[in-house]
């Protein structure tokens, strides 16, 4: 055991681990972050895979990063700038397109072109989602109460939650109930008639899940997209200057400014438990570090089953964690381009290149993409959500050149026959084909391509089964159920061992909130 003892060791330098470390260090604790890779960030990372071209290798857009984290950790001073991503454009098979722009009038005019009724409905839908997001938001901000506990704190929190739901009024409560039980496709069909609009909206309900737009429960995730708007972040989606790695780097810089140490290429093998208490960690290379407490920022499988001897854990917890649904279903293709893709529906360079472009022509298209995955294949014609970071931040590529980030579904982790280099390239080809249908010049302008499969996400980024959110954002895995009913408040059965990754409340995405709430919980205990 090394001579010095840390107040806290954080395992995993993903953005949540870094947020956690920064808050602990800011409170005066001596903190060490141990990261397996050669860079911080985990799934929020920027890497120059092809010389001169920077890829946001995994996550590529930022919506829910908590503004209080940006304020508390002074992230703007550490270089964080989130630039607006203003539009979404979906090319259509008939040569037309559907776009939604930053401006309400402009969007209305565009929707009106497709359906006058949908243009009206879109405004009403937007205000309802805004109201419901406002209603649900307090839940995301709360350290989840334990509904079976009798502690005053938990009771108070539960009571607040109950009162909050009452205050919604019958109509909104009813609507919320629908969102929680219906499929995105069914819910949207109550509002809209334009297929391409329904498809593009429903796509947000399937991201990171092993579900199709017609699967019940996908409607709820629609709401998450309106959440970002409530904090003075008026654009739902943004792009971090320098790629999503810039988010992690700013948080790391902030943590270091508060005195935290960040050690790269340090893979933790095991958490040292003595007398039922976490007292440090052992690295793969045999190094040992002692600490008063240990925080895991890894996913629940790794936190419980990977880093601990099973004998330390109660049987029912082991069962719960084994059952925790974590099937990966997404892939990523990053491209270095010699020029911009030229979309047949909007020829030339235009404002659409500065926003998201979605390959989601119809609900059927998405559901078929899911059908392939259901039976263990990657989608032959996948859903793709892409952005061109170099159009927003020119420093992402050499002058005149471009990078393109393509998020893809579905690519099941459990691919029939397993993932291999050939299958990876075949998957990459399917993605390029799907886009090239609408931007025929794409194949001629590719300088380099990086294909990331769920298997790569597990191997390279330590995401179990390649799940982008450390576990599906399904309703039975949220709030006071994340990751399990008993251990949903950042604690574990082992004294001094905490969890703070995306597998804890409020879940995945670049929010920083699990890391922050866990730190608040720990600091309450450390007093």
């Amino acid at each position: 055991m090394s001579a010095s003892t840390y107040d806290a060791i954080v395992i995993g330098g993903g953005h949540n681990g870094l947020v956690n470390a920064a808050y602990l260090a800011r409170a005066g604790k001596r903190v060490l972050v141990l990261e397996r890779r050669h860079v911080v960030g985990g799934a929020a990372v920027t890497e120059e895979v092809h010389p001169g071209f920077k890829y946001s290798v995994c996550s590529y857009v930022v919506s829910l990063l908590r503004p209080e984290i940006i304020r508390d950790l002074d992230l703007s001073r550490h270089g964080l700038e989130i630039l607006p991503l203003e539009s979404t454009m979906t090319p259509m098979p008939n040569g037309d397109y559907l776009a939604r722009w930053a401006d309400r009038d402009q969007t209305r005019r565009e929707l009106y072109r497709h359906s006058p009724r949908d243009a009206d409905a879109y405004d009403d839908f937007g205000s309802l989602m805004y109201q419901l997001a406002f209603a649900v938001k307090p839940i995301l901000e709360m350290i989840p109460p334990d509904p079976t506990s009798v502690s005053v704190r938990d009771l108070r929190a539960l009571f607040r939650l109950g009162r909050h739901f009452q205050s919604l009024g019958a109509q909104r409560f009813h609507e919320l109930h629908k969102l929680m039980t219906m499929s995105a496709a069914d819910y949207l069909a109550e509002w809209f008639e334009t297929d391409v609009l329904k498809a593009t909206l429903s796509a947000s309900g399937i991201i990171g899940t092993f579900l199709g737009p017609r699967s019940p429960g996908t409607a709820y995730v629609l709401l998450h997209h309106y959440m970002g708007e409530l904090d003075g972040v008026f654009r739902a989606w943004g792009f971090a200057k320098g790629g999503t790695g810039a988010v992690s780097e700013a948080i790391a810089a902030s943590a270091q400014s508060f005195g935290a140490e960040v050690r790269l290429e340090s893979t933790v093998q095991e958490v040292t438990v003595r007398d039922g208490r976490a007292v440090g960690v052992v690295l793969q290379n045999g190094d040992e570090y002692a600490a008063k407490l240990v925080v895991s920022a890894l996913d629940p499988r790794r936190t419980f089953l990977g880093l601990l001897d099973r004998s330390h854990l109660p049987e029912d917890l082991l069962t719960d964690i084994e059952r925790f649904r974590i099937r990966g279903s997404s892939g990523k293709v990053n491209l270095a381009l010699d020029a911009l893709p030229d979309f047949t529906c909007l020829p030339g360079t235009g404002p659409h290149h500065r926003g998201a472009i979605s390959i989601s022509p119809s609900i059927d298209y998405l559901e078929r993409a899911y059908d392939d995955a259901k039976y263990g294949a990657f989608s032959r014609r996948p859903y793709v959500d892409m952005i061109m970071p170099s159009m927003i931040d020119p420093s992402m590529a050499p002058p005149g050149k471009h990078v393109m980030s393509c998020f893809v579904q579905y690519a099941p982790f459990a691919l029939n026959g397993g993932w291999s280099p050939e299958r990876r390239e075949a998957f990459g080809d399917a993605v390029i084909d799907a886009i090239a249908e609408y931007a025929p010049n794409l194949k001629d302008i590719i300088l380099h391509r990086q294909v990331v499969t769920p298997a790569d996400m597990e191997m390279e980024f330590g995401l179990t089964e390649g799940n982008i959110f450390h576990g599906e954002l399904a309703l039975n895995q949220l709030f006071f159920l994340r990751p399990t009913a008993e251990w949903a408040r950042y604690t574990t059965p082992i004294a001094g061992y905490y969890q703070c990754g995306s597998g804890t409340h409020p879940g995945g995405g670049i929010t920083g909130q699990p890391g922050r709430l866990a730190a608040l919980k720990i600091l309450g205990k450390l007093k």
């Binding site: 009724r117 009206d120 205000s127």
Partner: protein, 396 residues
């Protein structure tokens, strides 16, 4: 261009000396044509003003059940609307809260035109189930001009070569201007004698040109939104999103208003059966509304006192404002003013205000917050029944 321009744009753009445009329902419209809007305001009150009001939403409602559909939706009794008549009306959601206001014009036995400030196509469709009616959005197909002011009748009569003396207040007629078939309604948003002309968009420019030609000797002046805003406050006419929040956009209940609370009790026909919001409105009538929309006239002497502290004469706004200002009684805040302006005609500083019902009687002395030299002060004001200005010529 991402924003739209109206069919009159080729005419209005060269006139807009400062290229001073504002947005209205996704269109560009002139704030003012001249460098100051004063002459345009006075044209409304002393001669005639020509206003491009094309961005209004317009729906054509046709079919044997057209009247029934409208009756289901709006609070006025459309069954009583005769051919050639126009009704001003609000419409409400199920809770009896105002969603929008506009007009319903009966153009033929089974043909109506509804104008609205907000998109309402979906709302109308939702209520037309099992009715034999068709609703068409003619917002783009129909351009609209308002000719407002004491000389409006002369101008429009000459342009249409038709004596409009018989076209009574809130009546509509078919006519031809410069060979273009139009409808002319005796309506407007200025509280003055005035007409609105509904023109197929292909003929828009011909009609504009004809009006400008015959209007010259009558002092017809193109006027923008700044002038209109002052006139409509004098006329006590409410503006959506400024004086009330449409129910579908109100995030909280507090922001919604019933027609009773907007001084529109006269438009609510509770004796007609089955229209959207009726049960809620019945209940509200019985328990009496908690708010009232009224005029407030700020006392000049009180303004003098406020500004005297800074050795200044009263500073009054040159254009209408649209920010909410608290209104107080002795005991505390009892309401808020939502828009206001200095009326050059009345020589009064006037505002529209939402007041708690007990403080809404005409003559009640209240106080409005004014900001003088960055400091908050209160100026005395009297509650006034609307409108502030009501010339005989408006209805004559």
């Amino acid at each position: 261009m991402p924003l739209r321009t109206t069919p009159f744009h080729p005419r209005t753009a060269p006139l807009n000396q400062a290229q001073d445009w504002r947005r209205w329902s996704g269109f560009l419209v002139a704030s003012a044509y001249e460098l100051t809007h004063e002459r345009e305001y006075w044209a409304i009150r002393s001669a005639a003003a020509l206003l491009d009001v094309s961005p209004l939403y317009k729906y054509r409602v046709i079919g044997p059940d057209a009247g029934r559909l409208l009756d289901r939706v709006v609070t006025r009794n459309v069954a009583k609307c005769s051919v050639g008549q126009v009704m001003y009306t609000p419409w409400c959601d199920d809770d009896g809260k105002v969603m929008d206001d506009g007009t319903v014009a009966r153009l033929g036995d089974d043909v109506y035109r509804m104008t609205a400030a907000e998109p309402n196509l979906r709302w109308l469709h939702q209520h037309s189930r099992r009715l034999n009616v068709e609703v068409a959005d003619e917002s783009d197909a129909v351009a609209a001009l308002a000719v407002q002011g004491p000389n409006a009748r002369a101008v429009v009569s000459m342009a249409s070569e038709q004596d409009l003396a018989d076209l009574r207040f809130f009546r509509v007629t078919h006519a031809t201007i410069a060979g273009v078939a139009v409808t002319i309604s005796r309506t407007g948003y200025t509280g003055d004698l005035g007409y609105e002309i509904w023109i197929p968009q292909e003929g828009a420019r011909q009609v504009w040109d004809a009006l400008v030609r015959v209007g010259k000797p009558w002092g017809l002046t193109p006027a923008g939104m700044l002038a209109l805003d002052m006139a409509r406050i004098e006329a006590g006419l409410i503006l959506i999103d400024v004086d009330y929040v449409p129910a579908r956009r109100a995030i909280i209940e507090l922001r919604k208003s019933s027609p009773f609370e907007l001084n529109l009790a006269w438009t609510v026909k509770l004796d007609k059966s089955g229209f959207v919001g009726r049960p809620a409105l019945l209940a509200e009538r019985d328990r009496r509304p908690t708010w009232q929309l009224r005029g407030l006239a700020i006392e000049w002497e009180s303004l003098e006192e406020v500004y005297a502290e800074f050795r200044l004469p009263p500073q009054v706004p040159t254009a209408a404002w649209r920010v909410s200002r608290p209104v107080y009684a002795m005991g505390g805040q009892v309401g808020y003013a939502t828009s206001g302006c200095w009326s050059p005609l009345l020589k009064k500083y006037i505002t529209l205000a939402h007041l708690e019902a007990p403080y809404a009687a005409a003559g009640t002395e209240l106080m409005v917050e004014v900001t003088a030299e960055h400091r908050r002060r209160k100026a005395r004001a009297q509650v006034v029944d609307l409108p502030f200005f009501y010339p005989d010529r408006k209805r004559a």
